[in-house]
Symmetry: C2
């Protein structure tokens, strides 16, 4: 029960600010801790909430002790929200875009820190979506929203019951699939990312990308590492920004 | 008192394995949780400990409840260790190396997750050291060791009482200083990293790099971001791997 109820709260200044900016309809009510210092970020939250006619309640945060773990830094602000709305693959493919689309697919990544970090990086690098599977991955929990710094409101999260079927659909729709794999022959920077719709697939650090999905890949790429493998969110940052670098060199901002 | 005592323990399979491999003398004793499953990693730890004549004790992990927070995942193995030995800048400059040296300098980064992640990425990208300041940054705590996945045993951590003075010393020793700054004109990929000793300076997400240090920089570089700024450890991964990419294109492995 306890776990379920946390699904309806987000916390921290950035996640709530970004949600107010991009997705105010998700927010039912905002709780501000008694006596908290109103810095610029909190003032902006307050004003945006007023503009959107969202109820603000000043309160002792003791009520949240049972819901959140004590050591979480709530930063004096909590919002009661409806969950992030996931996109489905068919709707994503229908959205129009000038130029090529690029997405990230997460296969079996269960750590909320990595998931949140990759969402934030994908939004920063201008990617069009992050795709996860229904059963092998995590959902967008409050911790994921916090780690993503609210980026979950900026970039669509595609949830699918079958990564494999969705990848087939992407391929039918002119997407190229790029899988990261330690044993790959090509380096991640030896691919031309500028001339295609593409999906970069990242696997979990423990078990990598599943075989079924690897078999569907048009390219496999690797990253050099002098010490174990890179952390998966660091690897994602390197690859996504290499794609963006190539795109910018071809067509500067 | 409680906090001090945790400084002498590290936990988790990777940090302990890497410490045994590279720095076994740091380890006084290894504690293995009663009834824990001996997977390959734990077997390797056991064997390496025996080879190095390190005392292993099977025990209930209740004794660690007061030392570690309950929600930490100790993975069934804890080691009592002497702290990581920091390097000083003079000794680092004396070490000989074929080719150019490259280091990362952290100015005011206090989050242990970011610090640990950057150490891991720097080791993976083949950097020669990570430099931190005595007073504005974090130390290598057990959490940092865990997040770094044990990379603290692979790459020297230079600790200095004055980042500013140490940067002067680096410059006198033929290092070029590259500072990351949102307002910079050059993109991070527009610099040639292949032809010099260099230090990449990363600032905290809140306040960036201090002015004194910015004034000493030979280059300032930026990263494009479509959503706020990148997380600092993601930004570090992008820059460090761009340097490595350029180096590999010039001299492949």
């Amino acid at each position: 029960m306890e776990k379920k109820s946390t699904e309806n709260y987000i916390y921290g200044k950035n996640p709530i600010y970004e949600c107010l900016l991009k997705n105010p309809k998700r927010i039912n009510k905002i709780f501000i801790q008694n006596g908290v210092f109103f810095d610029n970020r909190l003032k902006k939250i307050y004003n945006l909430a007023c503009e959107n006619k969202i109820n603000i309640q000043k309160t002792s945060f003791k009520k949240f002790d049972d819901i959140f773990e004590h050591d979480l830094n709530l930063q004096g602000v909590v919002a009661s929200v409806s969950p992030v709305e996931y996109t489905n693959i068919e709707d994503f493919l229908k959205t129009e875009k000038d130029g090529y689309k690029k997405i990230v697919i997460l296969d079996g990544i269960s750590d909320p820190h990595n998931f949140g970090a990759i969402i934030r990086t994908a939004a920063a690098a201008g990617f069009d979506a992050v795709m996860i599977s229904n059963h092998r991955s995590v959902s967008v929990t409050p911790l994921v929203e916090k780690i993503s710094s609210g980026a979950v409101n900026h970039i669509p999260i595609i949830k699918t019951s079958s990564l494999s079927a969705s990848i087939d659909l992407l391929k039918k729709n002119d997407f190229w699939v790029i899988a990261t794999q330690m044993e790959a022959k090509q380096n991640y920077y030896e691919i031309d990312y500028t001339d295609m719709n593409f999906a970069v697939v990242m696997g979990s650090e423990g078990s990598g990308i599943s075989k079924t999905i690897l078999n569907k890949a048009d390219f496999t790429i690797k990253l050099e590492s002098n010490f174990e493998s890179l952390n998966v969110s660091a690897a994602a940052a390197v690859i996504l920004y290499e794609a963006l670098r190539q795109i910018r060199i071809k067509s500067p901002l």
